[in-house]
Amino acid sequence: MDNYLEVRHLSKAFPEFQLRDISFSLPPGYIMGLIGPNGSGKTTTIKLILNMLKRESGEIFLMGMDNLTHEKEIKSELAVVFDSNCFCGDWKVSQIENYISVFYKNWNSGTFSRLIRSFQLSPEKKVSELSRGMQMKLMLACAFSYGARLLILDEPTSGLDPVSRDELLTILSRYIEDGEHSVLFSTHITTDLERAADYITYINDGSLFFSGEKNEFLDMFRLVKGGPGELTGELKSRLLGLRIYSTGFEGLIRTEDLKLFSHLTAESPAIDDIMVFTNQKEGAL
């Protein structure tokens, strides 16, 4: 099977923001994290994939089909969960199925009731009475009940407590376990991805910074630290980001440049470190 999601040279211009030449692909059976600071273009990318925004150039294929010409077929294989609740607040959990299931020809009632039970959602509660975590689980229960093979989540973990975040990640890893489901997951809370994601796509200021295996992404960089006297001009020119403090400095360097500075303390960065150091504004410390 081909990639579940394939984005090629995607571009879109707004008066104050441009998404430029974004390409990445997600094979079946894996989790990809879409990362970048606020305003970098994550949600724009997702909206373009879903045809909620009109692209200017580039191509997008979902399950091997063009996202514009085969929109209907694609959407029966695709589940989307946004960061805010998408159901009417007055609906009871027990009523949701009646309202939603009519839109999906593959709706499986048995799966839905099983998920409602295993997510411990009380059928008599109204949507507005559910916590953020519970609303998220309700949306996931719907998403999983019509056999969607690709799940796209936009900032699913913002506003969730650590317990609910952990539950969500457990649900996602169970979803992909059979190798036939994939997840694209945008977030700026990167600790969620540190363990669970297979692939990382990092968009920075509308451009693609990296897309590939997470382990490879983390291997590309090292965090170097040293005392004030050790920050030479040569080193400074190689650093992708730098923070100086009174007793020393720390900076991000490409792993291949590290051999030039073997006397310095170096460690593996976290995804957060890479984002922070690659987003420093000129002159700001």
Partner: protein
């Protein structure tokens, strides 16, 4: 087999998994022909990414510890596997070199070192 991962050890997670499986094989805890846990199940249970486990299993295969049968799983190779034997010999060499270095520091004659090895081998005859 016990498999645990640490987030703070500084050792990459795939390496941690690899080392633990390796020592389970070398100690005989995992026997020839036994299957390793399913890659995707292990990833879910340890809450790590599928590709991290894939990397550990692929490297174990390259080093001759396991045999990856497409669609069926990953199986432990016998300790007689040439590659594993080489690794073990390499380990013997490293440790003997350490012993030689230490004996020089202690100004211990070679004869005494040989003798010591004989005694130790006799003591550990069952191990």
């Amino acid at each position: 087999m016990k498999l645990i991962v640490s987030n703070v050890s500084g050792i990459p997670i795939y390496e941690q998994i690899k080392q633990q499986i390796k020592s389970a094989i070398l100690s005989g805890e995992l026997k020839e022909g036994e299957a390793l846990p399913s890659l995707r199940t292990l990833a879910r249970e340890l809450k790590i990414s599928v590709l991290t486990v894939t990397r550990a299993y692929t490297e174990l295969e390259q080093e001759g510890f396991v045999n990856n049968v497409q669609g069926r799983g990953c199986f432990v190779m016998g300790k007689s596997s040439q590659l594993i034997r080489e690794q073990l010999i390499c380990r013997v060499e490293t440790h003997l070199t350490e012993a030689i270095k230490a004996s020089r520091m202690a100004e211990m004659p070679a004869e005494e070192l040989h003798h010591l090895l004989d005694i130790l081998m006799e003591e550990n005859i069952d191990g």
